[in-house]
């Protein structure tokens, strides 16, 4: 259903047609038999414009799996975006299409604006709650929550086709968490971004997830229904 017609998967298997001719091809993110660290045999699909949540105990390898999808960590198995295999394009091109936002974002210039394209200040969404002068602010005066919100905007301003979010609301309080979720979901739907979202709060997973997978030992298993 989510697979593109007659394509060859990254592990060499050919899948025959399920989408008819003329149907729009959406850029879904596909993991096939991925192994990294203790995890193995991870297969899942993140359709365009949808959120797949990933949860599991700390230290179970959630972040490592995201890093493997971003190709920052050596891994086994095949990963593809819209039918193009990760290994078939230069790594930096892959990462500009499949953008990861880590749990602790890093800032290397003195001013916020240096990390963004020049016109990012004027297009700053109001949902983030920053005045447009934020681009002139010094990074050192940002709180951890502000850094996290700006890191999300930094990733989105790259026009990614897939997003890998590592606990994007970890440093936010209850009300700003929900504001941010609403804004993120709206962007994800509007731009049709395939999103893999690491979360631990069941409430958040319930609010944002189209599908939910949980790590059990070395396996990633789908969670059905609400629990």
């Amino acid at each position: 259903m989510w697979l593109v017609a007659g394509k060859i998967l990254c592990n060499g298997v050919t899948i025959m047609d399920s989408a008819g001719p003329g149907e729009p091809i959406l850029t879904e993110l596909l993991l096939e038999n991925v192994s990294v660290g203790a995890l193995s045999g991870v297969s899942l699909v993140v359709p365009a414009g949808q959120v797949v949540c990933l949860s599991g105990p700390s230290g179970s390898g959630k972040s490592r799996l995201l890093r493997a999808v971003a190709d920052l960590e050596p891994h086994g198995g095949g990963i593809s975006l819209g039918g193009t295999c990760q290994q078939d394009m230069p790594a930096h091109e892959w990462r500009s299409r499949v953008v990861m936002v880590p749990a602790d974002s890093q800032w290397w210039f003195d001013e916020v604006g240096g990390h963004f394209p020049t016109d990012a200040g004027s297009r700053l969404p109001s949902a983030l709650g920053f005045p447009s002068e934020v681009m002139g602010w010094s990074v050192s005066r940002l709180s951890s929550g502000e850094r996290q919100r700006l890191a999300l905007w930094r990733a989105l301003s790259l026009q990614p086709e897939a997003l890998l979010l590592d606990e994007p609301t970890a440093n936010l309080d209850g009300s700003s968490t929900e504001t941010l979720e609403t804004w993120l979901l709206e962007e994800i739907r509007r731009r049709q971004i395939a999103t893999l979202w690491v979360a631990h709060d069941p409430g958040q997973i319930h609010r944002v997830a189209d599908a939910h997978y949980r790590i059990h030992g070395t396996r990633v298993e789908p969670v059905h229904g609400s629990d």
């Binding site: 971003a70 920052l72 960590e73 790594a91 930096h92 953008v99 880590p102 890093q106 790259l158």
Partner: protein
């Protein structure tokens, strides 16, 4: 003008000064005595030996002996570059990159200076070739080891920044840009400072030596200018090569940062 030879016992007087420093350091518990004495003894032995080697070399001036000495000097400098890095690349990479950079830069510049600029006959005449190569290697060694040390240390400390830049789709060169600039600056700083201070704050050692040996200052000055310029060029090119090879090795073919390739010395 005849050079005044120094009797060995007169050097003993200078040694007494160092010994006095060592004793004061011991009494004041400054913790420098041991390394000071070992370094002083090393200087005496190493220089006495190289004196013998140079005497023999000047007498024979056969090309292969000179080449052999040059290679030995290069390998020792390569070992020293490895030893001076707090974190270094695993395996033979640290030695290979340092030595390779010094080989290409110092040897090329020395040969160029000998054949084109100075022009002794034969071009490898040991009176010119060995001291020139020694100065090249000594300075390139400092530059290359400072640059590599800074590169590896900064990459280690700024892992998060580099990986975050990679996550945003930057190439490994872009993600390493600032660190590479820092590493180059720290490799080049000693040469640039030496050039800036030359003649005003310090009289460079080689020029002083030539004047002591009876050369007219005008000649000594020209040699000193030549040497400082080519030292800076050799150090700069050496550091550029070391930083770009070392930086490349810190990433794999998928542009992933590979800190597992660094070991603490």
């Amino acid at each position: 003008m005849e050079v005044i030879d120094l009797a060995w016992w007169k050097l003993g007087l200078a040694a007494l000064l160092v010994l006095a420093l060592g004793v004061s350091g011991y009494i004041a518990r400054l913790g420098i005595t041991r390394s000071l004495l070992i370094a002083a003894i090393r200087t005496v032995i190493q220089l006495a030996l190289i004196g013998l080697v140079l005497e023999a070399l000047f007498a024979s001036s056969a090309f292969y002996w000179i080449a052999l000495l040059a290679v030995v000097m290069l390998l020792i400098a390569g070992r020293e570059v490895v030893a001076r890095q707090g974190r270094r690349l695993q395996g033979w990479w640290a030695f290979g990159i340092g030595t390779g950079a010094m080989l290409v830069s110092s040897f090329t510049v020395t040969v160029l200076a000998l054949t084109v600029v100075i022009g002794p006959d034969p071009w490898y005449a040991p009176q010119y070739a060995i001291p020139l190569l020694g100065m090249m290697l000594g300075n390139t060694m400092t530059g290359v080891s400072l640059a590599l040390d800074r590169l590896n240390e900064s990459v280690w400390r700024q892992r998060g920044v580099i990986e975050n830049r990679l996550m945003l789709g930057q190439t490994w060169q872009q993600a390493l840009e600032d660190i590479r600039r820092d590493a180059m600056r720290s490799g080049m700083m000693p040469s640039i400072n030496a050039m800036a201070a030359a003649g005003i704050v310090s009289l460079p050692g080689m020029m002083t030596g030539q004047i002591l040996a009876g050369s007219p200052p005008a000649v000594a000055v020209k040699y000193q200018i030549l040497v400082m310029l080519i030292i800076t060029a050799a150090t700069g090119f050496g550091a550029v090569m070391a930083v770009s090879w070392g930086g490349r090795r810190l990433f794999d073919d998928r542009e992933r940062l590979r800190l597992d390739r660094l070991v603490k010395s």
